[in-house]
Symmetry: C2
Subunit: 594 residues, 2 copies
């Protein structure tokens, strides 16, 4: 897949059009940092009134016509020199890739060891880790007072000072997920003082989907604004799929290593061991996974707390650990070996996403004892992780009615020392399968306003099937709405400029600008054209709602024009103006096309 073929993001097509002289609405630009290799991508929207608006851009080099991308080669390793320059990591041979990493049995003709190059044809590479088991995390640097290029990058991206970024990371209130083996990413930050982020899940399952589809879903999701992507693959080719996704992803990639570990024991939870799990974590850390969901809070004594629930344990990871605990009648091996896990993650700068394996799966189960017992354990684990300088965020629910949402974020912030909260929705009702992007978008906007740092998207297919390309887009757009609504409500500096630019365009009937500023320009344009397809309608001073005879926006413009700009002028001159207005024929609308 190069950016010449059919799956190229639409925006690149636009760029090509621009080169061909055709007017388009935006182009990729870069904000320069203090060093030549620090260039922060932005989306520059050009308005027809000559102004421009700069928007946050997650789409990666795919939308830069000057970068020749090729999924077989992978993205350029933007951060490689920054990592090497720190001098605290070393390359090493790495764990050999085994057939079972891809879900292939030893007896298969495809069996036998393979090296990384066989998995991915791109540039040869060896994995990297902290020398002498040292923590090479952004948290460790931030605590030492160092502002890394990654921190400067996100400061430019968020339009804040690098020192604010460093402080928030050092305090554990924000994470900058950036595995030393994933140099391709454009750094981003997750924390309540920054823009609310959105994660999109992809992943093949035992039922359907292929490697190409997953890479395509990843670029598609980031094209529409996904800030991170989780690869939740559970079927065949997990290792290889992940390698292709990582090498081509401009955003941090998250995983749930337990899913792959379970594949290695053929789906038998009770056969899981700490050794198999640990080996899987190292396998994924060497590939470059930036954050990992770890369900270490699902402890043996909490399992019975779920017995009287309406929907039991709905988290896949949570139920795997519960099954293991029950089968062995033993404390969770993740909980028992948590410190060793911290040492591993610290050596690659893998960020913890402490999973909420006991999250509620229905309105009836929200905020129950099982859920909050686990949350308290996550608070405990967060403190342990911080001792090892591992960046940590905390996952949250799930299904929660509106009046119980705030308690979730308030408790989480208190118990987990303000570590970033990363929630799935929450879904505010259970009665609308096929619309759970909306039932959850409502809860997501609210919990983000109250402090959640990242939202895990939900697609229309939730509870029903695997999302296709359209579902991924709908999920991302819905969650970008929730995130931006929260940015506005939090008074994030600059957030409202975007709304203001679109509202100005609306008031002034600049239709093309409205489309280009929209979260989804294509659909906005398509909907407009459905009712008023003619090209002149795009410059007409009315729309299909009221028609040309009377338009409320038009009247407001007339009021402003007739009566001057300021209120005082208006009040003083109103009687006089009124006479002139009447004398001029009381034209309150322009019958452009009657």
């Amino acid at each position: 897949m190069t950016n010449k073929d059919a799956r190229t993001p639409a925006s690149v097509q636009d760029e090509k059009s621009q080169e061909a002289g055709k007017s388009i609405g935006w182009h990729k630009a870069y904000v320069e940092g203090t060093r030549p290799d620090l260039r922060v991508p932005v989306r520059q929207v050009h308005l027809t009134n000559g102004q421009s608006v700069t928007l946050y851009d997650t789409s990666g080099p795919y939308t830069d016509p000057l970068v020749d991308t090729d999924v077989r080669r992978g993205l350029p390793p933007l951060r490689e020199n920054w990592i090497i320059a720190r001098g605290d990591t070393e390359e090493y041979a790495g764990r050999p890739v085994r057939p079972e990493d891809d879900g292939i049995k030893h007896t298969s003709p495809r069996g036998g060891l393979r090296n990384l190059d066989a998995v991915f044809p791109g540039r040869p590479r060896q994995p990297r880790r902290g020398r002498d088991g040292k923590a090479v995390t952004q948290l460790a640097y931030a605590r030492r007072g160092e502002i890394t290029p990654e921190m400067e990058f996100v400061a430019l991206r968020e339009n804040v000072s690098p020192e604010v970024v460093r402080e928030e990371i050092a305090a554990g209130r924000a994470v900058l997920p950036a595995n030393v083996n994933h140099p391709e990413i454009e750094p981003m930050i997750i924390g309540k003082r920054f823009l609310v982020k959105v994660n999109a899940n992809i992943g093949n399952s035992a039922v359907t989907s292929s490697i190409e589809e997953e890479v395509e879903k990843m670029t598609w999701a980031t094209r529409w604004g996904a800030d991170t992507v989780m690869d939740l693959s559970t079927g065949r080719n997990i290792h290889t799929t992940r390698e292709w996704v990582l090498r081509n992803s401009p955003v941090p990639i998250g995983t749930v290593p337990l899913y792959q570990a379970l594949e290695k024991v053929d789906g038998k939870a009770e056969e899981l061991t700490w050794e198999i799990y640990k080996d899987t974590v190292i396998e994924q850390a060497e590939q470059g996974v930036d954050y990992m969901t770890v369900h270490a809070g699902v402890r043996l004594p909490y399992v019975p707390l779920t017995a009287n629930r309406k929907t039991g344990i709905v988290s896949r990871g949570g139920s795997i650990m519960a099954a293991w605990c029950l089968a062995h009648h033993k404390e969770s091996f993740l909980y028992e070996n948590f410190e060793e896990l911290c040492e591993i993650l610290a050596a690659y700068d893998v960020t913890y996403s402490l999973g909420d394996g006991l999250r509620p799966g229905s309105i009836a189960d929200a905020n129950d004892e099982a859920q909050f017992a686990e949350l308290r354990t996550l608070g405990e684990l967060n403190r342990i992780a911080k001792r090892f300088h591992v960046q940590t965020m905390i996952e949250g629910p799930g299904h929660v009615p509106m009046h119980k949402i705030k308690e979730n974020i308030d408790l989480q912030q208190e118990i987990c020392d303000e570590a970033p909260f990363y929630t799935l929705g929450p879904l505010t009702t259970d009665v609308a399968p096929a619309y759970d992007h909306i039932t959850s978008g409502i809860g997501a906007a609210m919990i983000a306003w109250w402090g959640t740092a990242m939202l895990c998207y939900v697609t229309p297919k939730e509870h029903l099937g695997l999302p296709n390309r359209d579902d991924v887009k709908t999920g991302v757009i819905t969650y970008k709405i929730a995130a931006h609504a929260a940015d506005l409500a939090k008074g994030h500096p600059g957030a409202q400029e975007w709304d203001d630019a679109l509202s100005d365009a609306r008031f002034e009937f600049r239709w093309e600008d409205q489309f280009n500023l929209a979260l989804d320009p294509d659909t906005a344009r398509e909907f407009h054209d459905e009712t008023l397809p003619a090209e002149p309608a795009k410059t007409a001073h009315f729309c299909s709602m009221c028609g040309p005879k009377f338009c409320s926006m038009k009247i407001s413009q007339d009021i402003r024009r007739e009566h001057g700009g300021s209120r005082t002028e208006i009040e003083q001159g109103m009687a006089q103006k009124s006479k002139e207005f009447a004398a001029s024929g009381n034209r309150v609308y322009l019958p452009i096309a009657d």
Copy 2:
């Protein structure tokens, strides 16, 4: 259009299927009141486990296979005997229907007077009004301590006592919109102590649409759960379209009489007069319009307050009145003649929906001086209306960021003596044209939780074009989600039973029950079948998310089965059970289709 033709609601088709012996998921049932002609429709969902769930039903006789509906005849006049029995109304000749009522010029060959029968071919009827100008409103009856059949009807519908209904209406905290000339409706109530209601707008405009389409949109909207429908037609055939809609509508119909009045003066706002407006109100009251939006709060001194706004006046009614005030430099004729208007509305039991003509049209303009100045006037008008026993609700915004939403409902409740609030969204951001059902669904859910009684839907076409059939459905479903999420958050008695029933079905893999309980069964089924189309998948104990090898729901079921029902049993027996579990082969999943 009879219920045999192609535009029949899907549910009736289902009923026909049932008659043919095919199993379906629900049927129309009735809850009997204290008199034989008082039968409240409900939707009875039959579950595969033998239980059933009763849901509120807005779809009218169209989904009753025993009622033979025909749009040329109209619906049976359910309330006619109740109205006659009260003995306080009289039939009279009524205002003649004039060509200009349908936007036809006097000089047109179609000119000349017509009678009601020419407008609508159904049963002949004369308009009815209160004798001797008496108030024949549900408010007047409630204040006198009378429980009308309409009140008993809504009490059964809401599962509360009739006395609660009477009290809420008497206190002005709820309205029961029911024009004496619209006997076809199934009574419903709008108030914060009751289920949150949803309004869907229909209406042709100068640009597009026909009479048949509008009737079809109305039945389609109520099929998916619209509690009231507003006919906002602005083009030709306004009168006739409205007549057809009213005669076929099982839900209250609202209008904005100012739109039609403006048509009568050929779109020239300054040519409007109190006489033309009043004549239009009487015309519509005689037809049976149940509630009317009246922008009497747009006063002359408030117009300059909008001059420095980003998007000025965005309400069509608001801008018409602002233009009139400016043209004449006079106080609004609606404000000046409000008491006379009250007398008219009281004689038909038309409910006021006091319009927010100065609502904000962008995030930037939310909660500004213009908006709240108008709100204070609406509070004043509400008190006047109550003196005349006119039922009254208050309209609200619009575009409001999340952190400014609560102030809207709190102020409205305070200023307007807890009169029902009826809000449009609010939209929580301006950046997502084509997704404004979602930007506004977020705000709608929140403001309804905090006390808004009815939500005016927004479709994906908002700001872009006229909604088609699919847009109407998407808008209604999105707003039913917002309304139900609010019912849950308010702890409305019985609201959670629906969620619980669906969650139980989900936990027990009863796929057909999940579909049938869903707000939109068709789309839920379609989405499921997209990934796992085979019939056996509808009874399989897994879904496409995890596949058959490992299913979290399955594990929870195993935990419950293996370890007994109660937590104490589980804690006591866990060690023992654990051994048995291991001995039994640790089966934590059933490989149904590997």
